[in-house]
């Protein structure tokens, strides 16, 4: 007997591999017209995996203290073999994670996949978006460069504008009145332990919900689908669909390869795209660089705080926008999903996207 078959059979007799394969791979059917936008989740899983791997590797040499953090990063970049590659992959990967999360979220909005019965899928995804913002913010400080120090100072200062308790919140977040050693300590713990564990847990919940509810059918499909009636729990089956393995897995792999080309093109050809000049100087709390700005994904928030004369009003506006986004499945309760047949919905979504991009550009040039 072929040794591979022998080993497979040996394991199958003990844990029922054939059953698992039939249930979750070859027998797991997906909508026939499933498209590339459904691969964003697998790309995000790949990015998260790369972030965890490169993050663990960086911890081998990184030293989380204000005296040694910048030196250890310089050491990784200049002296450790392939240190520049691991660190650049980690920094670029963080930006890719936010970018692809936003793309994933927008594609879900356009395809109406957030609608009932997928409210929990949406909420867990929204939670993931916020946690990724958190992990990016905390990771940004760790190199202890001028950019890290002052971008964190700017990004955390908004909390101080909350009436009565703002100062306390700000001091609690920073561990002191200013960004310093206590900030680095708490951001380090959040970045390497608390938030990765939280994100991994929430990814698990997100995937469980996806599996439990069934993959949503793209809105343009007119074949047989057992839609949810709302009376009791029901798994969305796709009787004439394509199997997850090998059909969709190959599509996922193609999407992952395209992403890898895009990712490595940045890593190898424009590695400093996310590193302005301030990233190459150690933090100096007594010298603020000119035109310091947060990362691109925080620019809309930064600009909103600047537009309003009172920072607290700016925070409230952002809070309303985020609450609206979180509550979207409970606000948009109509079953129609095809965005081409929903002009008001399409207008609102496009306005939202243009406002976000517009604020980002404005924030960059302001």
């Amino acid at each position: 007997m072929n040794p591979v078959t022998f080993i497979y059979d040996w394991i199958d007799r003990r844990i029922g591999l054939n059953d698992l394969t039939a249930k979750y791979l070859t027998g797991y059917l997906l909508p026939r017209n499933i498209n590339i936008w459904y691969s964003m989740g697998s790309i995000l899983l790949l990015i998260f995996g790369v972030q965890v791997l490169t993050g663990i590797l960086l911890l081998v040499y990184y030293s989380p203290s204000i005296e040694t953090a910048f030196k250890s990063i310089t050491f990784i970049m200049n002296q450790v073999p392939f240190g520049w590659l691991i660190r650049t992959c980690h920094a670029v990967g963080a930006n890719m994670m936010v970018l692809f999360l936003l793309i994933h979220m927008i594609s879900v909005i356009f395809m109406g996949s957030y609608k009932a019965p997928r409210e929990f899928n949406w909420l867990s995804g929204f939670g993931l978006l916020n946690m990724v913002f958190g992990i990016c913010l905390t990771g940004y400080l760790l190199p202890w460069s001028q950019l890290s120090f002052w971008a964190t100072t700017v990004a955390t200062s908004g909390a101080g504008s909350v009436p009565f308790i703002g100062e306390y919140i700000l001091e609690f977040v920073r561990g002191g009145k200013l960004v310093g050693a206590p900030t680095l300590g708490r951001f380090f713990v959040l970045h390497v332990i608390v938030l990765p564990a939280g994100i991994a847990g929430l990814i698990g919940i997100h995937l469980f919900l996806l599996q439990r509810t069934g993959v949503s059918t793209p809105p343009s499909y007119d074949g047989p689908v057992e839609h949810w009636k709302g009376e009791q729990y029901e798994y969305e089956k796709h009787p004439d669909g394509i199997p997850f393995f090998p059909h969709f897995l190959v599509q996922d792999l193609v999407a992952n390869c395209i992403y890898a080309i895009f990712f490595f093109a940045i890593v190898f050809f424009v590695p400093n795209i996310f590193f302005p000049a301030e990233a190459f100087f150690p933090a100096n709390p007594f010298e603020t660089p000119a035109h310091i700005k947060p990362e691109w994904y925080f620019l809309p928030n930064y600009q909103v705080l600047k537009i309003f004369p009172n920072e607290f009003i700016g925070l409230i506006v952002q809070g309303i926008a985020m609450t609206f986004l979180a509550a979207l499945p409970f606000i948009d309760i109509w079953p129609k999903r095809n965005f081409l047949k929903r002009p008001l919905f399409l207008t609102c979504v496009m306005l939202g996207i243009f406002t976000f991009i517009g604020l980002m550009i404005w924030g960059h040039f302001s």
Binding site: L57, V60, Q79, F82, L85
Partner: protein, 130 residues
């Protein structure tokens, strides 16, 4: 098809594993501590100065008669770092009681061979190692 897929997967695997392996491999000793200069002004007679040289512990002794010795401070028994006993003018390994003379010769205990002697040059009042 199978050979192509296997070859591609091997290439991707090697391209991933090799940088990680090199990243985690010990750094070349030439990259730090390649040369050390120790001023003799700060080293009184009978005292020892411990320092890192090419990634290993080393010790410079200025004996009471003014002679200098430069040795590896790593005990040849199980790799502990020896201590300098100023009064007795000898080294003692605190792990298993190995004893060495100021020139590294084994005086007693389990060490199988003497401490390694390191080359040095005295120039302008300082000892240059490496």
């Amino acid at each position: 098809m199978g050979v192509c897929s296997g070859g591609l997967l091997t290439l991707i695997g090697a391209g991933t594993v090799y940088p990680i392996f090199r990243f985690l491999s010990p750094l070349s000793v030439d990259s730090h501590g390649a040369k050390v200069a120790i001023s003799l002004e700060n080293l009184p007679e009978g005292e020892a100065k411990f320092f890192e040289f090419q990634g290993r512990a080393a010790v410079l002794i200025k004996r009471k008669n003014g002679n200098l010795s430069l040795l590896s401070a790593v005990c040849t028994h199980l790799g502990c770092i020896v201590k300098w006993e100023k009064e007795k003018e000898e080294f003692l390994c605190p792990c298993h009681g190995g004893r060495f003379s100021p020139d590294g010769t084994v005086l007693g205990g389990p060490p199988p061979k003497p401490l390694e002697q390191l080359p040095f040059v005295v120039k302008d009042g300082s000892v240059n190692v490496g």
